[in-house]
Symmetry: C2
Subunit: 101 residues, 2 copies
C-alpha cells in the first residue's frame, strides 16, 4: 500500500475530535475562531463536522490554542472510546496512557 485509506476507527476518532472542538468553541463564531487560529474557515468547518479525520498537527494545535484547550487532553479525550479497535500495527500495546504533563 502507499497511503492507507483511513480505518473506520480513525474516522470515528475524527468525529469525536470535531465534536470536541465544536463543543469547546461554544458561543464563539466559527469564522472568528478560524481566522484567529490562522486557518481557513472551511478547514475548521470540515474538521468540526468530522469530514477531515486526521488534520495536520499545526492545524489542531493552532485551533486548540485559540480555544484554550490542552493538546494532551484533546488526544486523551478522542482516544477514550478507541480501545477495542486496533489501529494498523500489531505492535499497538497501550495507546493513550502516557499523557501526564
Amino acid at each position: 500500500m502507499v497511503r492507507l485509506p483511513l480505518t473506520p476507527a480513525e474516522l470515528e476518532r475524527g468525529q469525536r475530535l470535531g465534536a470536541l472542538l465544536r463543543r469547546a468553541r461554544g458561543e464563539r463564531s466559527m469564522l472568528g475562531t478560524a481566522l484567529d487560529a490562522g486557518v481557513s474557515p472551511e478547514t475548521l468547518r470540515k474538521i468540526e463536522s468530522g469530514r477531515v479525520a486526521t488534520p495536520a498537527f499545526p492545524t489542531i494545535a493552532a485551533i486548540a490554542d485559540v480555544l484554550g484547550l490542552s493538546l494532551d487532553a484533546v488526544w486523551a479525550e478522542i482516544n477514550r472510546a478507541d480501545a477495542a479497535a486496533p489501529a494498523r500495527s500489531a505492535h499497538e500495546h497501550h495507546a493513550g496512557e502516557r499523557l501526564a504533563l
Copy 2:
C-alpha cells in the same frame, strides 16, 4: 490558492519538530519507536529529518505518546523561535501562550 505551499517558517518549524523528536528518542531504536507508535519507520525518519513539515495530528500524538512527551510542550517548543515570521493570517496575535492544562 487551493493548497498553499508550505512557508519557510513552517519548514523551519518542521525542522525543529524533527530535531526535538530525535533528541527525545535518545538511545531508543528508530525502528522500535516507529512500530510502537504504529507508524511506518520511513515516516518517522522523514519527520525526524524535517522533510515532513506538517505531519498529521494523530501521527505526532502517537510518537509523543511513545516518547513520553507532552504535546503542549512540543508545540510550545517548536514555536519558540517563530515569533518574527507571520504565518499566513494577519489575525495572528499570540501563538503559544495558552498551554496551561
